[in-house]
């Protein structure tokens, strides 16, 4: 049986829709808004602020910090060295990847972002993170 040629436009249309839906949405308004807000705060704290840096974010992510709780010296303690990997909490519960490429919904819920930076900066660094550190961190995760 020959597929009807009249169905072709429909199939093309369907394919377009699927591609559009599956295309990596580089523009994520919620995340952009969170970053923009952090940038405003960073600017207010430091007039010389000239944008976030994935490099600085990477350093923040990988460094073993002093001052936090001994159980969690670094972000990598739970998130592993590769942000594209799944991590594990101290009691073994799976943490979905932090890298946007592996987990597109990261940093799109302002409330969650606030909660986890508050908790984890205190656990790892022993202090709150600056707006620039938070922005660097998110920028690093967007580059991965």
């Amino acid at each position: 049986m020959r597929p009807s040629i009249r169905m072709l436009p429909l199939a093309v249309l369907a394919a377009c829709f699927i591609l559009a839906a599956a295309a990596p949405g580089r523009a994520e308004p919620a995340r952009d808004a969170i970053l923009a807000d952090l940038a405003t705060q960073a600017k207010a704290a430091d007039a010389g602020f000239s944008g976030f840096s994935a490099e600085r974010g990477k350093a923040l992510f990988s460094t073993r910090h002093a001052g936090g709780k001994p159980e969690t010296p670094a972000c990598t303690t739970c998130h592993t060295n590769n942000p594209r990997n799944r991590g594990k909490t101290r009691v073994g519960k799976v943490i979905e990847p932090m890298a946007i490429s592996a987990n597109p919904s990261r940093f799109t819920d302002a409330k969650k972002v606030k909660k986890w930076f508050r908790r984890n900066c205190r656990s790892v660094l022993g202090r709150v993170c600056t707006p620039r550190e938070k922005g660097d961190y998110i920028t690093f995760m967007m580059s991965r």
Binding site: K69, R90, V91, K93, R119, N120, S123
Partner: protein
């Protein structure tokens, strides 16, 4: 059957005897030697014993001559006479149970019955399973457990005496009594008149058993409608599951007392070495849920046991004396290795951890994965 042999033990009596041996052996093996998750088989052996005992008592009225309880309910004089004969190494001959043996048989039936009843109390009270799940509280169940164990030790001693008695009687009477309980036949001593025993009344027995089944079934159906204290019926609070479940399984509120939950929720900024702080409204809501459903409000085994917390670490379930005692045989690396990863990962082995029930039958130890796997 030779001229001088007669049928003494009818088929139901022999089947009863050897089924009893098997079920008691299963009960003892699964009670003393196997891990918790064999409890299902242990309980099944118990239920089997209930059926056996009921049958035996009914058959004790409607069975053939030597199966009838009245046929071996010897008086004290016969018992003393028989024992004196034993000491003089020439015990009088009996076709059915001899008086000393009969005493042991009544005692064995009574003790097995008491063991089964106490077992049902343990099952109902401690585990909230079985027919008495709704009727018996945890404390009564725990008390019954001590009785259950003591009676079983007594039963073991009685079984020993019973076996020795059979051996002695077999030697002195020059008759293999074990073989007699298999074939049902015994030798007729020279000169003894052939017994004309009463026959069995199987229809009467069936009627009695049927009547019993109706009454017992009705009673079981009645008590099965009663509400069983079951922490699994608690609706999980969504905020709790979402906020706390991000880092660890949301432990059932019945696993710690009110004071422990209050302490944990008041110090989320240092939560077992981590900052787990929440917005105050969220924390208050979760604390209210945990405290309203804490261990004080449940009669389950886990709630009853974990109500007693460690003085040094009153917030840590895995530091409670009962937890430590129960998991002491498990090496630390076994907890650390995937897929368990942590002592806090109850559900790795307890399939019903989320319900707070922690039934023995729901323990399944996962296969150990090598370090490379995840």
């Amino acid at each position: 059957m030779s001229e001088r042999e007669v049928r003494i033990w009818d088929r139901p009596v022999r089947l009863f005897h050897w089924s009893l041996v098997v079920l008691v052996a299963v009960g003892i093996a699964t009670g003393y030697y196997t891990s918790e998750w064999w409890m299902g088989l242990h309980a099944a052996a118990g239920y089997g014993l209930v059926l056996l005992l009921v049958f035996r008592v009914v058959w004790g009225f409607f069975g053939s001559e030597y199966a009838r309880l009245a046929s071996f309910a010897h008086g004290p004089r016969a018992i003393v006479g028989h024992l004196r004969g034993l000491v003089l190494l020439r015990p009088p001959h009996y076709l059915g149970h001899n008086p000393a043996g009969a005493v042991m048989i009544f005692a064995l039936i009574a003790v097995v019955f008491a063991i089964v009843v106490s077992g049902l109390l343990v099952l109902g009270g401690e585990e909230h399973q079985g027919p008495l799940a709704a009727l018996v509280g945890f404390n009564l169940g725990a008390a019954a457990k001590a009785v259950h164990g003591t009676l079983t030790a007594l039963l073991l001693a009685m079984i020993g005496i019973h076996v020795v008695g059979v051996a002695v009687e077999s030697l002195l009477g020059r008759e293999n009594l074990v073989y007699a309980m298999i074939t049902g036949r015994k030798r007729l001593p020279p000169g003894a008149p052939r017994p004309g025993p009463r026959g069995a009344r199987p229809w009467a027995a069936a009627f009695a058993l049927g009547a019993f089944a109706l009454v017992a079934g009705g009673a079981l159906a009645g008590i099965s409608r009663l509400p069983v204290p079951d922490p699994g019926t608690l609706a999980v609070d969504e905020t709790y599951a979402a906020e706390c479940g991000d880092c660890h399984e949301p432990f059932h509120p019945s696993l710690l007392p009110v004071a422990s939950w209050a302490g944990i929720m008041a110090h989320l900024d240092n939560h077992f070495g981590e900052d787990a702080s929440l917005e105050s409204g969220t924390a208050r809501k979760i604390a209210a849920y945990l405290e309203a459903n804490a261990s004080e409000f449940w009669d389950s085994e886990a709630a009853s046991r974990f109500r007693v917390v460690s003085a040094d670490a009153p917030w840590r379930i895995t530091a409670t004396p009962y937890w430590v005692a129960k998991h002491g045989g498990i090496a630390a690396p076994r907890f650390a290795a995937p897929p368990v990863s942590s002592k806090a990962n109850c559900a790795a082995c307890h399939r019903d951890a989320a319900s707070g029930r922690f039934d023995d039958q729901n323990i399944v130890l996962p296969a150990v994965k090598s370090a490379g796997e995840s």
